[in-house]
Amino acid sequence: MLAYLIRRVLIAIPVLLGILALTFVLVHMLPGDPATVLLSPEELMGDPGLIERRRADLGLDRSLPVQYVSWLGELADGNLGISFHRKVPVTEMMGPRVMPTVVLAGTSVAIALAIGVPVGVAAALRQNTKFDYLSGAGSMLAVSVPTFFQGLVAIYIFSIWLGVLPSGGMRSLGVEASGVDLMRHLILPAAVLSSVLMGPYVRYTRQSLLDVLRLDHVVTAKAKGVPYWGVVVKHALRNSLIPLTTVLAVQIPALLAGTVIIEYVFSWPGMGRLVIEGINSRDYPVILAVVMITAVLVLIFNFIADVTAALLDPRIRL
C-alpha cells in the first residue's frame, strides 16, 4: 500500500511541474508589463530609468528558466501574484470568494450524487425498460442544454414567473443573514449545477453496474443462494462504484467551468465570478491563480481517488 502511494506521488510530481510550467508560459503570453503595471503614469514620466530598475528589482531581466524557478519559490511562499486591477495580492482578493464557491460546488456535487447514483443503479437493474430510456434521455438532455440557458430558464420560471425564489446573489438586502435565506438563494444555482453534473453520474453508474453484473462472480453469488438485493449491493454495486471515485476527481475542471457560468448567471459572489470579473478587467494574475489552484486541486483529488480506489479494491494495492 505504501509503495503504491509513493508511486502515485512520484507520477504526480512531473504533472504538477508541467501544470505550473504551462501556467508560467501563459503568464508570459499576457499583454502588459508587470514592471509598469504597479506604477502610475506620473512616476513613469518623471523617471525614465525607473522601468529598468523595476525590471531588475522584479527579476524580469533574468532568463526564463531562472524566472520560472524563482516563481516556483514565490508560489511555495503562498504568493500568487499582485492583481493588476486592484493592486493588492491575489490571495487577498480570493480569500472571501472561496467559501461561496465551496458551498455551491459542494451542495451541487452532493445533490448530483444523491440523485444520480440511485437513478443509475435503477436504470441498470431495469435495463431496456421505460425508466432506463427516460433516465438516459433525461441525463442526455441535462448535459446538452447549456448551463447558462438552464439558469436563465430557472430564473424565468421560479423568480420572475412564480416569484418564489431569488434570482441571484447570496443573501437578501436589508435582511439579517440567516441559514434559511442562504438556502433560498442556493436552491436555483445548486439545482442547475447539479443537473449538469448528474448526467455523467447516471451514465457511469449505470454502465459500470451493468458491466459488473455480467461478471462471473455475480453468478457465483446467485448460485450460492444470496438474495437478489444481496447480490446487487454486496457483489455488484460496491465493485461498480470504485471507478466512480475517479470520475468525481476527473470532473473537477468541468465542475469549475460550471461554477464560472452559474455564478455569473446567478451573481453568486464566488471564485467563478471572480474569474469573469478578472477577464473583463484584464486582471490576468487573478485568472491564472484560479487556473493553477484548480489544476492542483485536480491532482490532489485524483490522488485521493486513487487512494480510495485502492482501499476499496485490494487488487490495486499491489
Binding site: 446538452s144 442544454v145 474569474v275 477577464i279 484548480t294 485536480v298
Partner: protein
C-alpha cells in the same frame, strides 16, 4: 467459431469495447455472446449501420443535423432578411407575420439571426472537433506505437491538459488573442485533444498485441505500414464516436464564450451572443422571443449530436447486441 468476414471485424468490436467505457473491464462473456448472436458472416460496418438505423433518436438526429447544415449553408437564401438589417419601425417587436420570431433591441430579425448563427455553431463544432481529434490521433498513435519515453511524456502532457479547467483557460486565451471564429476553433482544439489522444493510444496498444498486427510485423511489414493499414482502420470507429461528442462539446463551449461576451464579436450573429443580450431582467421577463429561440437552438443541436454519438457507440458496441 470461425468467421470469415476478414480481418478487422473482430478488432473493431474489441476496439469499441475498449473505447466505449473508460472504467469498464471487458468480460469474457462478451465474446461468448458475440459468438452466439452473430448470424452468417456480414460486414461489421453494415451491421453497425443497421444497428444505428434501429436507434430511432439517432436517426432523427442525423436528419435534424443534416437539415440544419443545409439551412446554414443556404442561409442567405433561406433567411427572411439580412441578419444585420435594422428595422427601425420594429424594435423589440414580438413575433408577427413580418418577423416570425420577432426582432431584437436593434430591430434585427431574430429568425434570420438564428439561421446565420447556425453557421457559427456548426463551423466551430465541426472544425474544432476535427482539429482536436486529428491532433489527438497523431499524438495517440505516436504514443501507442513508440511506447517508452515518448509515450510517457505524451501521456503526462495529456494529464496536465486534463487537469486544467479548460473553460477558464480558453476564456483567457480568447481574451488575449482576440475573439474570432478561428481563434475559438484553435483554442478549443488545443485544449480538447487529450481525450481522443488517450483513446487512440489505448486502442493502438490493444491492437498491437493482436494476432494480425504481430503477424504483419513478423512478415516484415514496416512500422509505418502496419500503422497505416491495420491500426488506423481499427481506431476509426471509436474515433468517430469521440469526434461526434467533441463537436457537441465545442458547440457548448463556443456558446458559453459568446454568452459571456467573449466569443464571436457583435454584430455577427451567434446563438450564444443572442443570449448574451438576454441578461437584463427586462429582456428575460418581457421579451422571451429574444432568448428562448437561440437557447432552444443550441440545446436541440447539442442534444442531436449527442444522440448521434450515442447511436454510433451503441452501433459499434457488441455488448448491446442482446
Amino acid at each position: 467459431m470461425i468467421r470469415d468476414d476478414g480481418p478487422g471485424s473482430r478488432l473493431d468490436m474489441d476496439a469499441i469495447m475498449e473505447a466505449s467505457v473508460a472504467a469498464g473491464e471487458v468480460a469474457v462473456e462478451d465474446l461468448r455472446d458475440d459468438e452466439i448472436v452473430e448470424g452468417p458472416p456480414r460486414s461489421p460496418f453494415k451491421i453497425a449501420m443497421r444497428r444505428f438505423g434501429k436507434h430511432r433518436l439517432a436517426s432523427v438526429s442525423v436528419f435534424f443535423i443534416g437539415l440544419l447544415g443545409l439551412v446554414a449553408v443556404l442561409a442567405p437564401f433561406v433567411a427572411p432578411s439580412d441578419p444585420n438589417a435594422v428595422d427601425l419601425m420594429a424594435l423589440r417587436s414580438p413575433p408577427s407575420a413580418d418577423h416570425l420570431l420577432g426582432t431584437d433591441s436593434s430591430g434585427r430579425d431574430v429568425l434570420s439571426r438564428i439561421i446565420f448563427g447556425a453557421r457559427v455553431s456548426l463551423t466551430v463544432g465541426v472544425a474544432a472537433a476535427i482539429s482536436a481529434a486529428g491532433l489527438g490521433t497523431v499524438l495517440g498513435l505516436i504514443a501507442g506505437f513508440t511506447r517508452g519515453v515518448v509515450d510517457t511524456v505524451i501521456m503526462r502532457i495529456v494529464d496536465i491538459f486534463l487537469s486544467f479547467p479548460s473553460l477558464i483557460v480558453i476564456l483567457l486565451l480568447v481574451a488575449i488573442l482576440g475573439p474570432s471564429v478561428l481563434t475559438i476553433v484553435l483554442v478549443i482544439a488545443f485544449f480538447e485533444w487529450p481525450t481522443s489522444c488517450r483513446i487512440v493510444r489505448q486502442m493502438t496498444l490493444t491492437l498491437r498485441e493482436h494476432g494480425f498486427v504481430v503477424a504483419a510485423r513478423a512478415n516484415g511489414a514496416s512500422s509505418f505500414r502496419i500503422m497505416r493499414r491495420h491500426i488506423v482502420s481499427g481506431v476509426i470507429s471509436p474515433l468517430t464516436v469521440v469526434t461526434t461528442l467533441l463537436s457537441a462539446q465545442a458547440i457548448l463551449l463556443e456558446a458559453s464564450l459568446s454568452f459571456l461576451g467573449l466569443g464571436v464579436r457583435q454584430p455577427q450573429a451567434s446563438w450564444g451572443g443572442m443570449l448574451n443580450e438576454a441578461q437584463s431582467v427586462t429582456v428575460l421577463e418581457g421579451l422571451p422571443w429574444l432568448w428562448l429561440p437561440p437557447g432552444i437552438a443550441i440545446a436541440a443541436t447539442v442534444l442531436a449530436i449527442n444522440f448521434i454519438g450515442d447511436g454510433l457507440r451503441d452501433a459499434f458496441d457488441p455488448r448491446l447486441t442482446r
